[in-house]
Subunit: 192 residues, 2 copies
Amino acid sequence: MFENLVRHIQKFVALNEEEQIILRSYVKFESIKKKQYLLEEGHVCHANWFIGKGCLRSYTLKENGNKQMVQFAIENWWLTDYFSFEQKKPSQLFIQAVEDCELISIDDRIQDELFIKIPQLERYFRLIVQKSYAASLMRLQYMFNLSPEERFHHFNNNFPSFIQRVPQYMLASYLGFTPEFLSKIRAKIADS
Amino acid sequence: MFENLVRHIQKFVALNEEEQIILRSYVKFESIKKKQYLLEEGHVCHANWFIGKGCLRSYTLKENGNKQMVQFAIENWWLTDYFSFEQKKPSQLFIQAVEDCELISIDDRIQDELFIKIPQLERYFRLIVQKSYAASLMRLQYMFNLSPEERFHHFNNNFPSFIQRVPQYMLASYLGFTPEFLSKIRAKIADS
DNA sequence: GATTTTTCTTAACCACGATTAAGTTTTTTT
DNA sequence: AAAAAAACTTAATCGTGGTTAAGAAAAATC
């Protein structure tokens, strides 16, 4: 599991044996069960989680009580609420396990110290966040430029593995429409 | 103008006199006129721009020929297409001056060298990108959780300075609706 | 100051996707 | 295996915000 993380980091920056040992001593390993929460609204987010195995989601609670999906994360992805994590402010988000998960986490209290010991991690995370940012802007573009139906087909074509992994109603919320409308789309596909 | 940039950097990391001189020798200064382009669709984005004075916008061209606003940027903001800038791939974006601008830019070819000479800039940009990412996720939340009319009022309340600075039709596109609908909202306000 | 271009407004019509509500299927729990 | 909970489907109704088109107002240019 830790090897996954090392391999992921090495895609972006060098990390020698000694540094790997330092890193291992700084991170925490945790397992959580499906439906357990890592973070709840109103709490400060104290960790950044790397998914070794499993699937997480983050969502907000809307005024009407519905859950609005914010993000999915699977193997080799980092997930946190950067806003809360960095500024130590109460989060708007819930982070919950969609499947049983094995996680590696970096605590906010040790992050700075870790970055001093292994400076290239600063670069690693700059690049990780940059990728997340680019992905978020792409998603905004899809929201603006594609119809709900087109967004579904686009997601279907580009991330087929997700479709079987997450419940349809979460996907519908992630794509910005209702589960009822997703059923309509699927009925249309079955017809043709 | 350069002092603005130094001051902005010093909000996040230390930067001594010597480093300021190094930085100055690495960046480029440019002035552009309203409506001029810094980047056009299909080209690789070779710079990251810091706005000393003025206002930039980025947009994509939709299938129907309309322009979809992606971002605004004003004084003390960085703007680039990180996807194109980092991966050296053709951009989907246009970046254009909304007002006459005075800019400081970092070229992609010298960025790595600059980060080696002033390592804390790696941290500075990690934090900058993190903030942009958080803002982008907030905007997604507004798209999901607020109606077009609510989004307008929210923007109005939180960024009143923008309202006078950018044309209404750009704002409408940024908020994800048509200029006609914005007129409708404004007429409703005038009534009451 | 006159002309052109850009930006904003108004109004009629209409389509997409939300809402509501009931029922079915699948999964989980006991 | 039975019961309960979670997830998905179907269909009728309705409202928001898009589209179209024409005109008015404001700003830029000559």
